[in-house]
């Protein structure tokens, strides 16, 4: 099926490919730099919470927390994903192409990121990455975030144009799987970001002083309309790597082309109508609407079950073809010494508790036990900080050499790095989950509460979290060294390191053509989002006419 088509001899196509590779590589290096900065802020937060250090008032905990959240959740992930999908689309649809739209996207994203980051670091946007109104940041914060998102829309447009070209040139063939996955995920992303762009449409005029008040509840709802699919944006990109890139490391295949597409279409449909599960404890939304989102959130678990099956099936089929049988023999046969495999595979292990923790969080009234506690912080570190980040890092060890034509610098450091990360993240997130069950609040610089009894029980967990966090930070430093070293050492092997997409298992069933019609699935997804949100939005607008003035409480 879709394999690396690097054999083109036309000079024009070769040039176009080199430029496309450079584009994807630039995204990945930008993500790497951001990850390094974000990790530094992260470990300092861990030390603050464990009372090892106190951040100076000139650069306080909350400013650092805002920078960490924005850089990790919104910038690192987004740049890596847009780079990955540019790569997956360009490589699986080989053609001479213009990269103007792709580069426009990149520079727009970068411009927005710099604007937002400078605003945060200067102390004019200490509003955390959720920027809940009526906390009012400098307009540059909102402008920057909007540019970041508009830049991703350019990347989405670029992916869509390539799909259209493919369909016109190959009317009888299905879209190559990697390009299909990229397009499906970017389509989900565009639908989801409509919410946050609409929110920016309210926040920007208000922060400029053009409007006097803001509807706090509506902005919260618009944020979480975007905030949960944001999570699925990360997960779908990690799945993209698990399905199409990881099997190549053990000479395996995609378990089933059709079922992979079913999983991604399900994620497209169900990622958005679920956001109220972040607002279970909000006043102003009745319990019935919250229950509806509980049901849809359970629904979005199903494609993850499908993915789990497909991945383990792919492991087993590859082993059987090589004549290997038995659980431990199959596990032993996997390339645990290759970081491109080990990173994502360790990430998959972390996703087992991470995914089940997500099901717990979704369990409606039970949310009162964990909402806004350290449990939630543990949860998103064992999901986006674990499976997603480890998968991206592992894939980068394959992508960077393949895209740059350079030899990976210090591959042994790369291997040690993924295991260190796994151990550190396991310790840190376990400690955070535990502290949360004891009631320790999140997003708080100091939780001693003047020596209150209950608060003292949270301290040992925070020390463990700092220990785990140190390992993660050291590990990220190792990743940055390998990535920078690969660039600076500039060693080019005779043959560009092979890095191909996995083929599809030849015994799998044919793919129904209806699955390939992404435009129609996109309309269904939009309709589901409208159905899930129409009721709660109308309820809020009817009950409530109060518009809040902006406040700067930091």
């Amino acid at each position: 099926m879709a394999t690396d088509a690097g054999t083109s001899t036309e000079p024009k196509a070769a040039l176009a490919r080199a430029d496309g590779d450079l584009l994807a590589l630039t995204h990945i290096y930008t993500a790497t730099l951001v990850l390094g900065i974000g990790a530094l802020f992260g470990v300092l937060q861990g030390y603050s919470r464990a009372n090892f250090i106190v951040m100076p008032p000139a650069f306080d905990y909350y400013r650092m927390l805002t920078a960490h959240g924005v850089l990790m959740a919104l910038v690192f992930t987004t740049f890596f994903i847009t780079g990955l999908f540019t790569y997956m689309t360009y490589r699986s649809i080989p053609r001479a192409r213009s990269t103007i739209l792709g580069w426009t996207g990149y520079w727009t994203m970068l411009f927005g990121t710099v604007m937002t980051t400078v605003t945060i670091l200067s102390g004019n946007a200490t509003v955390l990455y959720t920027f809940y109104a009526p906390l009012k940041a400098s307009p540059f914060f909102y402008f920057g975030a909007t540019f970041l998102i508009l830049g991703t829309w350019c990347v989405a447009g670029d992916v869509a144009l390539n799909i259209r070209w493919w369909k016109r040139s190959n009317p009888t063939q299905k879209t190559p799987l990697p390009a299909f996955i990229a397009a499906c995920t970017m389509l989900m992303w565009v639908i989801a970001t409509l919410g946050v762009v609409a929110e920016m449409g309210l926040l920007i005029p208000w922060s400029l002083g053009w409007t006097s008040g803001i509807d706090v509840s509506l902005t919260r709802m618009l944020f979480w309309y975007f905030g949960h699919p944001l999570v699925y944006f990360w997960i779908m990109a990690a799945y993209a790597i698990w399905y199409t890139i990881v099997p190549a490391t053990y000479k395996g295949a995609v378990f089933s082309d059709a079922l992979t597409r079913v999983a991604f279409v399900s994620l497209l449909l169900l990622s958005t109508p679920v956001g109220l599960h972040h607002q279970y404890l909000d006043p102003g939304i009745s319990a019935g609407w919250k229950w509806l989102h509980t049901v849809t959130t359970y629904g979005v678990v199903i494609p993850s079950f499908m993915t789990a099956f497909a991945i383990f099936a792919s492991f087993e089929i590859a082993a059987r073809k090589a004549g290997v049988r038995g659980f431990w023999n199959i596990v032993r046969r996997l390339p645990w010494k290759n970081p491109v495999f080990a990173g994502p595979a360790l990430g998959m292990l972390l996703f087992i508790p991470g995914g089940f923790g997500g099901i717990v969080n979704n369990s409606y009234a039970m949310d009162v036990l964990v909402h806004n506690t350290m449990w939630i912080v543990g949860h998103f570190h064992i999901t986006v900080g674990g499976p997603v980040a480890l998968t991206f890092i592992g894939a980068a060890y394959g992508l960077v050499p393949a895209l740059s034509g350079r030899k990976l610098y210090a591959p042994k450091v790369a291997l040690v790095q993924v295991y260190t990360y796994f151990v550190g993240m396991s310790i840190m997130s376990t400690a955070m989950h535990w502290a949360g069950l004891l009631g320790s609040p999140r997003r708080t610089s100091d939780v001693t509460y003047f020596g209150a009894n209950g608060a003292a029980t949270w301290h040992p967990e925070m020390v463990w979290a700092a220990v785990g966090g140190s390992l993660v930070a050291i590990s990220i430093l190792m990743f940055v060294i390998v990535a920078t070293g690969t660039f600076l050492a500039d060693r080019h092997p005779a043959n560009t390191p092979a890095f191909a997409f996995a083929p599809t298992d030849e015994e799998a069933m044919p793919t129904p053509p209806a699955l390939d019609r992404l435009g129609r699935w996109g309309l269904v997804a939009l309709a589901l989002a409208v159905l899930a949100y129409a009721g709660p939005v109308v309820q809020q607008l009817q009950a409530h006419a109060y518009l809040a003035p902006g406040m700067r409480t930091w």
């Binding site: 059709a258 102003g284 319990a287 499908m306 009234a365 004891l438």
Partner: protein
């Protein structure tokens, strides 16, 4: 559209689906039978007029029956009013909370008391305090530079 599932995969998905249905049935039964739903009061209030809107013009504890209390709280940066309430062990307390400024949280760790406090709305949550002791009440949503100091106490005698 024809999708054929492998027999093992069908079994796996049926088990997964059965698990989700069981979870959903459990929480739905708890919601309908025991009223175990997340705090979801829908009552708006003008946050600029909280100090003039009864009963929030006089925040504090009211006894409404034998072992039953209502507590009215105002959250503002960076404190709760009242700072301390005192109830006998075994009391059922219904908390009503509103904010005069930004988003706050209202959480009593180790109890089921946990709700967001959004300016413009009244939050409601109930709890029966069975054990004696001093309970810490904290703001668990970032509200500004003094967020870590925003706490109060519930004394159960």
């Amino acid at each position: 559209m024809q999708i054929h599932l492998h027999r093992a995969e069908r079994l796996w998905l049926i088990c997964g689906l059965a698990m989700l249905v069981a979870f959903l049935a459990t929480i739905t039964t708890a919601a309908v039978v025991d009223g175990f739903v997340p705090p979801s009061r829908v009552q708006s209030i003008d946050p600029t007029k909280v100090s003039r809107t009864p009963p929030f013009d006089h925040p504090g504890l009211r006894k409404v029956g034998e072992g039953a209390y209502e507590a009215y709280y105002v959250a503002r940066v960076f404190s709760f009013s009242p700072a301390t309430i005192e109830v006998p062990a075994g009391s059922r307390v219904t908390f009503y909370v509103t904010s005069t400024d930004v988003e706050h949280g209202f959480s009593i760790p180790e109890t089921g008391v946990n709700t967001m406090v959004t300016p413009g709305w009244v939050s409601q949550v109930s709890h029966t305090f069975r054990t004696r002791g001093t309970f810490l009440l904290v703001c668990n949503e970032y509200c500004g530079s003094g967020h870590q100091m925003m706490a109060a106490k519930v004394e159960v005698k």
